[in-house]
Amino acid sequence: MAIGLEAAVAAIGAGIAIAGGAIGTGVAQSAIGAAGLGLIAEKPEEMGRVLLFMVIPETLLIFGFVIAILIMLQAGIV
């Protein structure tokens, strides 16, 4: 399947948007995860709450995803 230069650049842009969000999420989750595991080791009953805090930074990835979808919609890829 051949795609035009504009669509290709848009696809790369969408990829960067997702990657940026994913990296940001990963950095934040590594810190929360480490602290959360420490808490669970002492208070296993806090597992649910830690899990909830753990997923909070995923919003960054979701924003990346939304931007990627918007780019691809504008470029007519999806």
């Binding site: 909830l52 909070i56 995923e58 979701i62 924003f63």
Partner: protein
């Protein structure tokens, strides 16, 4: 709004005669209507009932006996005859004449001693095995004149130890060595006066010392293992006898012990509750919270038990005291309350968002899973989980919610025409019935997801308005209204400006209103103004419904696309492909279900609740006991 409030509560004070205290406490305990609180009335503090130490001691004994016997026989194997709660004196008498209790403790001690003995024999057997073939006679290690050291060391260092010992000409010693794979066993016998020399030599080596003291080591090593084996068998036989004695007692008496323990627990609660009371010489005073709708019922109980000799007052809460939170939901929805408690209990003076959570959680989960097959599998797994988990535990309640949410997953699966990633619509010529097409209609699903977000965020702000008005914080309340205006007009302005969905005039006008609304919000409340950015980010965050839903559907369809052709390539290929096919779908399903649960909870707890929910309520805990093995007739 009544639906969104917890049960209205009333604080009451009951004053009656000391002579009716036990009967009133008993009646309150049986009915479980009053959440007893420490009274602050200016009267003397009451004390626990006089029989508390006696029944507490008995309770400890019965609990210990129960825990010993529960290790022998499963409680669900016991048949309980329904046992009526005994009167206090009869209960104490029956507990005290239970002569099997000391016997249980005696046998339990004996069993523990035998366990220790067997463990010691096992240790000695290990040492005997290490020394096998060395010809050593363990009788000599009891000598007072000689000292003995045994250890293992890395093979390459064994020779060095020997050389170092040989350097000490005055040292009189005997050494035995045995290869143990990568390590060498060394046994040294030397005069007690030379202990320092040997210790100095060994200090430089990494050795694992074998403790020969307090071990059952006797006679020659050839016979030792056999003798120890005999001793072990004897101890095991004895333990078997003790065990069977305990089993016999368990099958005969455990039911009775459990019932007596339950009665004792009830009596201990009743005897100790009076630490919350106040008293005079002739009267006592109880305070607590009761649901308003049971107020008359409570007064009726007091009236009946005290034979009309009482004072019943509706009183105001103490300064800073908050009414407890009592949920009014049906029992089958109790798991949602459990989940809310897990986050934070709603305060009795704020809107209880649990009903919204009950509806939105399954919708979000359903949208993210959106597959009939995964939905049915979720339902079955959740059902099985409820059967094998403890009914008071987190897993049980999660499974209950999961079961309800699975129905939504089936519903959205039907709307999306997804059956383990397959689409049946095109084959059956029913494509026009597909409502959500995750492959071709991304924009619609994205708009729907953000639409859910906008609706929930606005609803949160509306709740926030009512909460603030309830607390007479008018400025903060109106800042919620200006936030709602900002979010509504801002959405129209963005839709018009970025996507051309509205005319230029509408776009500009709504943009101006948005700016004014934000400025007004900032003027009304600094805190609310800091939330302005969240008015954009929180609805956008609901795009995860599309993200996770799309990921699940696409992975499922890819699995089908890759493996379906191999199913027709012969019987062996069919079996192998089917296994991989099931494993991959199972993996995708677990991932989807996990994300579905966590993300649905998160959207509610973070994006929605942050708009209005304070939490930190105190759960209504009525004075009472949930009996399992006994019953008590109400007078």
């Amino acid at each position: 709004m009544t639906l969104l409030r917890t049960a209205p509560m009333q604080k009451v004070r009951i004053i009656s005669l000391q002579s009716t205290k036990y009967e009133l406490v008993k009646a309150l305990h049986n009915e479980g209507v009053l959440d007893v609180r420490k009274s602050k009335k200016e009267m003397g503090d009451d004390a626990p009932l006089a029989h508390l130490p006696r029944i507490s001691e008995l309770l400890v004994k019965f609990k210990s006996a129960e825990s010993v016997l529960k290790g022998k026989i499963k409680i669900n194997k016991i048949k309980f005859s329904e046992k009526k709660h005994l009167k206090l004196e009869e209960l104490i008498k029956e507990c005290e004449k239970s002569d099997f209790i000391p016997e249980i403790f005696k046998l339990s001690d004996k069993e523990r001693e035998l366990d220790e003995e067997i463990a010691s024999i096992d240790d000695s057997i290990k040492i005997a095995e290490m020394f096998r073939g060395t010809g050593i006679d363990f009788s000599m290690i009891k000598s007072d004149l000689l000292k003995f050291t045994a250890f293992t060391i890395e093979k390459r260092h064994a020779q060095k130890v020997r050389e170092m010992l040989e350097k000490h000409k005055k040292l009189n010693y005997e050494i035995i060595e045995k290869s143990l794979g990568k390590r060498t066993l060394i046994f040294i016998a030397y005069e007690a006066s030379d202990a320092n020399i040997v210790n100095d030599v060994l200090r430089d080596f990494k050795i694992i010392e074998i403790d020969l003291s307090n071990k059952l080591l006797f006679g020659s090593e050839e016979k030792l293992s056999y003798e120890l084996g005999k001793l072990r068998e004897k101890s095991l036989n004895e333990k078997g006898k003790v065990d069977s004695e305990l089993m016999k007692i368990a099958s005969k008496e455990l039911g009775r012990i459990v019932q007596l323990r339950e009665m004792l627990e009830v009596e201990v609660q009743r005897a100790s509750v009076s630490i919350y009371f106040k008293k005079t010489q002739a009267t006592f005073c109880v305070e607590g919270w009761v649901a308003k709708k049971r107020l008359a019922e409570l007064e009726g109980i007091v009236k009946r038990v005290t034979k009309n000799r009482y004072v019943f007052e509706e009183i105001s809460p103490d300064e800073g005291e908050m009414a407890p939170t009592l949920s009014t939901r049906p029992k089958w929805l109790a798991s949602f309350d459990y989940m809310m408690e897990f986050m934070s209990i709603p305060r009795s003076d704020e809107i209880d968002p649990t009903w919204i959570f009950i509806f939105s959680f399954p919708i979000f989960y359903g949208l993210m899973v959106s597959d009939v097959g995964y939905g049915i599998a979720s339902f079955i797994f959740a059902y099985l989980l409820t059967k094998v988990t403890d009914q008071d535990g987190l897993l049980y309640h999660t499974a209950k919610i999961w079961q309800i949410a699975a129905v939504a997953a089936i519903f959205f699966g039907l709307l999306s025409d997804q059956y383990f990633g397959f689409q049946l619509g095109p084959q059956l010529g029913l494509s026009h019935l597909i409502v959500f097409d995750w492959f071709t209609n991304v924009t619609s699903v994205l708009l729907l997801a953000i639409g859910f977000g906008l609706a929930q965020v606005i609803l949160g702000l509306v709740f926030g308005f009512f909460n603030k008005m309830h607390h007479k914080e008018k400025k903060l309340a109106f800042s919620k209204i200006t936030s709602i205006i900002a979010i509504l007009t801002g959405t129209i302005a963005v839709a018009g400006g970025l996507f051309g969905m509205f005319s230029g005039g509408v776009t500009v006008a709504t943009a101006i209103v948005t700016v004014i609304a934000i400025i007004l919000t900032a003027l009304l409340s600094g805190i609310e103004a800091t939330e302005t950015l969240n008015l954009i980010t929180h609805p956008l965050s609901y795009a995860r419904l599309l993200g996770f839903g799309m990921a699940s559907v696409i992975i499922a369809s890819l699995i089908d696309k890759w493996f379906t052709p191999s199913l027709a390539a012969g019987p062996i290929s069919f079996v192998l492909t089917l296994i991989v096919f099931i494993l991959l779908h199972f993996f995708n399903m677990i991932l989807t279900i996990f994300e579905g649960i966590v993300q649905s909870a998160r959207l509610n707890f973070v994006e929605f609740f942050s708009k209005f929910f304070a939490g930190g309520g105190v759960k209504f805990q009525p004075f009472g006991y949930r009996r399992k093995y006994t019953r008590e007739d109400r007078d």
